[in-house]
Symmetry: C2
Subunit: 155 residues, 2 copies
Amino acid sequence: EGGAVTGISHDFNDAQLTVYNIKDQFGQAANILSALSKTQINKDMIIQPVSNDDGITRMTISVPKQDADRAQKALSTLGYDHVEVDTDIVKISAIGSGMKTDHTVSATFLQVLANNEINTRAIATSEIKISVIVRADHAETALTKLHSAFGLDRK
Amino acid sequence: EGGAVTGISHDFNDAQLTVYNIKDQFGQAANILSALSKTQINKDMIIQPVSNDDGITRMTISVPKQDADRAQKALSTLGYDHVEVDTDIVKISAIGSGMKTDHTVSATFLQVLANNEINTRAIATSEIKISVIVRADHAETALTKLHSAFGLDRK
Ligand SMILES: C[C@@H](O)[C@H](N)C(=O)O
Ligand SMILES: C[C@@H](O)[C@H](N)C(=O)O
C-alpha cells in the first residue's frame, strides 16, 4: 500500500543561474538557451514565470557548478548582464505517480519545509514530481523530515 | 531510430494564475499551496523562480479553468491580492527520455517558437520534459512546427 510519493531525491551538483530583466518578447528565451547550448553547457530545471505589468520576467536555470561562471559570461556577452549565480544550494525532489491524483502533495511538501523554517529559493513541479531549491545546509533536515512526512524509509 | 523527443502534447484545460509580490520567506509558498488544497483546487505546473534584491518573487500555477476565480478569491482572502488569471492559453510540452542526454532540446524547442514569433508566457522543464504556456491561438502553428522540427508525425 503505497503513498502518493514513492521517492525523495537530492542533488548537490548544480548551481542556479537567475537571469533578471528579460523582456517578455518572442525570441528572448531562445537566445538565452541557445547561448548555453553553444557553449555546451548542460541546463536543467528552467523556471520562467509570467511577466509583470512592465513586461519583464526572469528565468532560473540549473547548470553544473563548474559551468556557472562560463554561463554567466556567455549571457553577459549577449547583453543579459543581470545574472546571479547561487552555488550554495541543493535540489530536493519528491516523485511518485500517485501525485497525478493526489493534489495535496505539493502543499504537504512545502508545509514540511515551512515547519522547519526552510526557505524555498525556487520551485518547479510537474504531474509526478516536485523539485525545490534550498540552501545546502538545510539538506539533512529537509530530507529527514520529508521522508518521515511521506512515510518513506531514509536509505 | 528515434530522436531525443518522442512526443509533443498540448492541453487547453488549465488557466494560469500568477501570484505577484510574494515575500521570499519560509512559509509563503506553503500558505499559497495549502489555500488551494483546502478549496480542493487541483494545481499543476508550479513555477517559482529566485527572488530579486528586494526579496520579492512570484509564482505561476496552473489550475483548471473552472476553478480559476475561486482560486483567486482564496488567495485574496489570505492577503495575496495581486493575482492575475490567464485563460486564453494552451500548454505545449515535448517529452522524451533522450532529453536527459541531449541538452539542446530546450534551445531547439524555444527557437522553433521564436522563429514563428510565438511568445512563451511561462516555461518549466525537467530532465525529460519541457512545457511552455503560449497564447491559445498559437497552438496550431506551434504544434505543426514542433512536430516537424523534432521529426515527428502529427497524428
Ligand atoms: C520571457 C521569454 O520567454 C519570452 N516571452 C520569449 O518568448 O522568449
Ligand atoms: C517564495 C517562497 O517560496 C518562500 N521562499 C517560501 O519558502 O515559502
